[in-house]
């Protein structure tokens, strides 16, 4: 199982990415997906995401490899956007495919939990009045990721 990992400014096509995980094969029993979206909390105008080129791809590949060692995946996909993202737009896509649903669902949850705390991305919030602030990490996200053991 070779994970598909991409970090890009452009948006992504959920249907096309999902179809790619079962194209040409008949052993895939289920594909779980998570799509993270930008909310317009407190008058937010945009999120600006930066990352650590090189390390980001390594870190995500490492997280995907951990998922593959814990669940019998037939494939998985992580697409994380960077740059300026407006409310309503998608930020991140996680797909996990397996013969059976529980492996797909659990691996998908594991992947997004670890992406939040184990990959070098940083979000900056921009507001209509010109104010900006860096999003602070949340202890509950850290606890969720650690909860997978």
């Amino acid at each position: 199982m070779t994970p598909t990992v991409r970090v890009q400014e452009a948006g992504f096509d959920l249907a096309a990415e999902t179809a790619a995980l079962s194209a040409g094969r008949t052993d895939v029993g289920g594909i779980a997906s998570f799509v993270g979206l930008c909310r317009a909390d407190d008058g937010l105008e945009a999120l600006v995401l930066e990352h650590y080129p090189g390390m980001t791809e390594r870190a995500i590949a490492g997280i995907a490899a951990q998922a593959a060692s814990r669940w019998p995946l037939t494939g998985c996909t992580v697409v994380h956007r960077i740059g300026r993202i407006q409310p309503g737009e998608a930020i991140v896509l996680v797909l996990a495919a397996s013969r059976h649903r529980m492996a797909a669902l659990e691996a998908c949850a594991f992947l997004i939990d670890w992406l939040k705390t184990g990959a070098p991305f940083w979000k900056r919030e921009e507001f209509a009045d010109g104010a900006g602030r860096w999003v602070e990490a949340r202890a509950e996200d850290e606890a969720r990721a650690k909860g997978w053991g």
Binding site: G36, L49, E50, H51, Y52, G54, M55, R58, A59, H80, I91, V92, I112, L115, K116, T117, G118, A119, P120, F121, W122, K123, R124, W134, V135, E136, A137, D141
Partner: protein, 83 residues
Amino acid sequence: MRVLYFAWLRQRTGAGEEEVSPPAEVADVGGLMRWLAARSPGHAAAFADPAQVRAAVNQEFCGPEHPVAPGDEVAFFPPVTGG
């Protein structure tokens, strides 16, 4: 040694990256942070609260006791907020 800064550490230091040659007694990440903090008021502001700074050596997350050596790529950044 190549040092990279991200998010508000980049803003405070005023640089995304810099080449530095710390003295030999700077042997670990924590020591490097203290040495870098003395470079400018911006660096001092970036490292004012070490508890809010995370690090990676050669693109692997690590703690303040991790050794550093000439030729390493060392990055400093706040706790990550992706996903």
